[in-house]
Symmetry: C2
Subunit: 705 residues, 2 copies
């Protein structure tokens, strides 16, 4: 890890044609690296100005000539047609109807056709291949059951790389549509290795190849109706990795064949928010190994040319989860994560890689990811930047990273001097935080929290994408709160629990909706999981359930941990069973909540409302939901301290709901964050420093005696 | 059916000690019958005053001497202990802990013990009988799995008749606790027949034996903790019919044995609101036949003595559903239904029995069923009576009954002259309605609505008990609305649909919560059910789904009729699938609703909010819920007319939301109801009568030319 420097550790997006601006802002923001971006170039004047140079390489695209010459090397996907009603015994299905024809093209090659399927979705029955035929872009089903609905699952080529497609359709780009190659195809793989080698030769100025990212994009399926242009988007799905070759290789290795339905799943696909099937788990591991192996080969080429390979973990990253089993084997020199939030910093900081870099938002672009203006009429990029920084800053005080930076079109900052100032202030605060960490790590309370969900350590901190893409899930709010709290955090799976994963854990959090990957769904039907957590709490641990924790139909309670929580959700089966009249108001918790023990108490820890239930020596806590705010984070901390009885006397702190602190014992320094847009005066316990008055959003370091 | 009389058709509860009041009110209210009530007697002065006399007989209770001499003839039930956590490999369960010991007593006789069970509820596993033993009121389980939860299912005697128990605990009665006999026990049955015969001999003054009701009460389980005194209450459950003898007889007849778990169902029991298992269906039929057979024997005795047998359908009525297969075979002379609501009138009116009588509320008692004061400090019995009458009146205009009446302690009316007036007015209105029907039936629009649920015609109109006992179900609100609308109404089951039950139907309504008996639960996994309804709508029918209609996990939509509705509920599986952006606001419909067709439209028919979706020649309609009000009922009528395009030109009507009408073509009379507590002026279409100004709550008959 780099040590404290007042300058450096900042990556600036340069822009050809704006050489003076580039060098001026490089100086102002203390940059030591200049990078290009998707759509920008660096001119010789910039390249030769004495900065280290990152160059963006999107490995699988920008090869249209090759793709056109070898269309069979393009990437693919399974799709399902929308259901078609049988009005008689013949049904005609036009597979791609409703999809965006500039993104997809049917793969009706002899290699692909055996993987196509037709389903009677009303009867949930696969239609035998003898009963349907495909001709001229249409499937005709014979002997259909009248009034049943039929779908076709089929392979198609993806003929427009999705990030490029997004930029065209959102930002009105008019350049050629970029295609993408599948490294699984031997021709493509041979080509890509040569491309990487050639690229290194022809780009001697580049110090760091910024891989954006590897091979397979997250899933983004467009429709042809503008009322639902983006039909499906999941930042962590694997559907865009598939091909007949992959399916054959999988079968050879695993001894069983995957079918279209393993991907299509009645039309729902298999989103990251849903528990995976056993087949999907196998398939993910299979893809992860493939991605790691191919990535290593490219990184080796880059290293052979004396360059470093950093990877950007946001586009075409599927299969290279930084906490996955194979990530370290690739040999990346750095990981770059674009961040809006604290949890993303922790995710980046935790990766086993030499350099951790954050790319801040807003991206220097006219509009943001959500489609709202940033560097254009109506935009307030300085406010956006500060909003994100408030989330990031508290996480950085828990775990530092090595570098920060920006991306996009630098010239857009012209006319936004408040933004330029804001970034300058952030770089200062970043350096102060880094320097503080360099003197010694911050103190952590003796509290270990295990976030329990289906994916466990494969998907720590994140769910699927950025906060605002998953913000209907209580868990992302909880992860965001945890990212800045002085507690140890682990992410464990249900399998981990059975393998001793509760060892050393004080508090387990399970937060999700019934049946989703975060709550756990069918995992909870395992009595040994329930028994292990029951023992854990009975012997003194705490279990915090949020939303529909441990929910699983078929038991004698809907929440399988209801006996620990002292509360359950009425899924309808409590019909005619009376409620306990204990005088507690459950309003605001969950309209279907039932106390199943009259000793369960409703407690307010503003702004949190929860139930508490003593169970053996431990406690069950239920919350209907959790919405991140600085106050909610502090309330969560208070709850954790209360549940564990952790001895906190040694650590200076402040109990103001808007003020967070991090204590660095080696330097006897207390970092004090004002998370509010107003001046706040506070006193600090455990540090003899008198009252402090903090400016809006101020970060103050107070040194103890 | 009786024909119009200005007096008569009224049953008055007389009261010994209040002879003058009895005779005065009998005259004022036009009574032709005087009855006793639970807790009151009739003196000779009343009996001999020239009125017909109803005498209440609660067949299975008031036999404490016999029950004490033969405790083995008492009624029984299966109960489950609350779960007990295994902290080691031994678990001790005290079966009745948490239950009301004045209601239950363990049946640990050799005959009962083989039916006891112990369950590992964590693993959902029956514990082999070798692993547990019962001694001194405790069950000890050996070889338990630590940290699993165990329950015992056991038989117990019910030593306090529940209606009597309710009156004691609610109204502070102090008399002896009444026990109840099980007619299945040969000794008890012999005794009961003799009792009935003797009773008829010793009560020569009685014209009508008012059976209240037969043998088995609905299920009402009390706990020992006052914070949940009534643990479980279901007006239509069969759990109180069980005994080792019944179980043995069942096995002999059906060739398979029922177990405790068939009743206990993981502790949830089998409430009427939940779809029954196949075993429960068999058991219900078995009990219905037994009840009908024994009831017939008693009715035959009553008839032999020249008396009539009316049955009151509200206490101990289980197994004698008036629309059940065996009801008519009993030979009752009349059915008496206590009513708060319109749907209860329709239920009574539809029964195949010579005389239909309604017993109005409020019951002449200090407090009402809900525990609020009626004839006591703070009570307003006249308002309550009018509130119920407004519901009843509109239903009576659709289907008449023969008689009305009251029950309870007549002396309580002293000091409530407004109540006495209100009843007098009601008797007048009742006679006017009856007279109108006598001239010819009201016109019905050419619209046939089929309410589709699990129970079909076994449970028409009612769900399980009174409106206020089931008012969280949208369906009871819908039934209440339908009870006063000029449309034909059927109640059909899912089996009926497959047997041609949609023949002649215009609109199907399915309204319930996912998994409940009203929505249908697993019934919807039958593709032929879905196909039949799909065809029905495609060819021009309408399907109205309310709440979570046709909801069943495991399909390619959560609502199995989603393709017809053009809308589905996101049970979590739509994760990452984008919503249609059609500009329609789904607010107020269902927070998880998804349009699955961009052509689905949101429509307001005040106060209803719904979606409409054209499907073939028919329509799918979705509503998030339905709350009964006069306006909502009129909006529903408008919706039904709109969906069917029914020709309504021949029938005079009024489109004011608070005013309902019923057209009697034979007498060219339009009954006009003002449902509002304010004066309303309206015009009538199709009847040349000028503007009408109606007093608050007025019923006006307008005769056409």
């Amino acid at each position: 890890m780099n040590t404290s420097i007042e300058r450096g550790g900042f990556t600036l997006p340069g822009e050809s044609g704006y050489e003076q601006l580039t060098l001026e802002l490089a100086k102002r923001w203390g940059a030591d690296v200049i990078r290009d971006s998707d759509g920008t170039k660096l001119s010789p004047e910039i390249v030769e100005a004495g900065y280290r140079i990152y160059s963006t390489v999107c490995v699988i695209r920008e090869h249209n000539a090759f793709a056109e010459a070898h269309p069979e090397t393009q990437q693919q996907a399974f799709l399902s047609s929308d259901p078609v009603l049988a009005e008689g015994d013949t049904v005609v299905i036009v597979p791609l109807r409703g999809y965006f024809e500039e993104q997809f093209q049917l793969n009706d090659t002899p290699e692909a056709m055996p993987f196509w399927q037709v389903w009677d979705r009303t009867a949930d029955r696969l239609v035998p291949a003898e009963q349907w035929q495909y001709k001229d872009g249409k499937i005709t089903v014979c002997g259909a059951e009248p009034w049943h609905r039929y779908t076709a699952s089929f392979l198609c080529w993806r003929i427009w790389e999705e990030i490029n497609m997004y930029n065209h359709t959102t930002n009105h780009w008019t350049s050629e549509h970029l295609r993408q190659l599948d490294p699984r195809h031997p021709l493509a793989w041979e080509y890509l290795q040569k491309f990487m080698d050639d690229w290194c030769v022809t780009n001697p100025q580049t110090n760091v190849v910024r891989l954006t990212s590897l091979f397979y994009n997250f899933v983004w399926i467009f429709g042809d109706d503008m009322r639902r242009r983006s039909r499906f988007v999941d930042w962590a799905s694997y559907d865009f990795t598939v091909s007949p070759a992959a399916l054959r290789a999988f079968e050879e290795e695993y001894g069983y064949a995957l079918t279209a339905e393993d991907f299509i799943n009645k039309g729902f696909l298999q989103a990251t928010h849903r528990p995976p099937t056993a087949h999907k788990r196998d398939y993910m591991d299979f893809i992860q190994r493939f991605v790691a192996e191919k990535a290593k080969a490219l990184v080796d080429i880059i290293h052979r040319h004396g360059k470093q390979a950093y990877v950007f973990y946001d586009d075409s990253w599927v299969g290279m989860e930084p906490s996955g089993k194979y990530f370290a084997s690739v040999g990346f020199d750095g990981l770059i994560k674009c961040v809006f939030s604290g949890f993303e910093c922790r995710l980046c900081a935790d990766a086993k890689v030499p350099v951790h870099e954050l790319r801040f938002h807003p991206y220097l672009f006219p509009v943001g990811l959500g489609g709202l203006p940033t560097f254009s009429e109506g935009g307030h990029p300085e406010r956006d930047a500060m909003d994100y920084w408030l989330h990031v800053r508290r996480a950085l005080l828990r775990e530092p990273v090595d570098r920060i930076g920006l991306g996009g079109y630098l010239h857009l900052t012209e006319g936004y001097p408040a933004f330029v100032d804001a970034i300058e202030n952030m770089t200062h605060e970043f350096h102060r935080i880094k320097a503080l960490h360099a003197e010694g790590a911050p103190a952590t309370l003796p509290i270990t929290v295990a976030v329990l969900h289906t994916w466990g350590s494969l998907r720590p901190w994140t769910l699927s994408g950025h906060f605002h893409e998953t913000d209907w899930n209580a868990l992302i709010h909880i992860n965001e709160a945890l990212s800045g709290l002085p507690v140890n955090v682990r992410f464990i799976s249900f399998e981990d629990v059975l393998k001793g994963g509760l060892e050393g854990v004080d508090v387990v959090i399970n937060a999700g909706r019934a049946g989703d990957a975060w709550s756990g769904g069918a995992a909870w039907s395992d009595p040994e999981l329930v028994a292990a957590l029951t023992r854990f709490v009975y012997r003194g641990g705490a279990f915090i359930g949020v939303g529909e924790p441990s929910a699983c139909p078929g038991g004698d309670t809907f929440f399988r941990m209801a006996h620990v929580l002292g509360a359950d959700e009425d899924d309808g089966r409590y019909a005619c069973h009376a409620k306990w009249e204990t005088g507690e108001s459950l309003e605001g918790l969950n309209p279907c909540l039932r106390l199943i023990d009259p000793d369960t108490r409703v407690v307010d820890i503003e702004p949190l409302k929860l139930t508490r239930h003593a169970f053996g020596k431990g406690t069950g806590v239920y919350m209907g939901g959790f919405a991140y705010s600085p106050e909610a984070a502090k309330a969560l901390l208070r709850l954790l301290m209360d549940l564990t009885g952790a001895d906190t006397a040694q650590i200076p702190a402040c109990d103001h709901p808007y003020v967070e602190t991090a204590w660095f014992p080696a330097s006897k320094t207390l970092a004090v964050l004002n998370n509010a847009e107003e001046e706040i005066t506070v006193s600090i316990t455990g540090l003899d420093c008198g009252e402090l008055t903090l400016a809006p959003f101020e970060m103050r370091f107070v040194v103890g005696r």
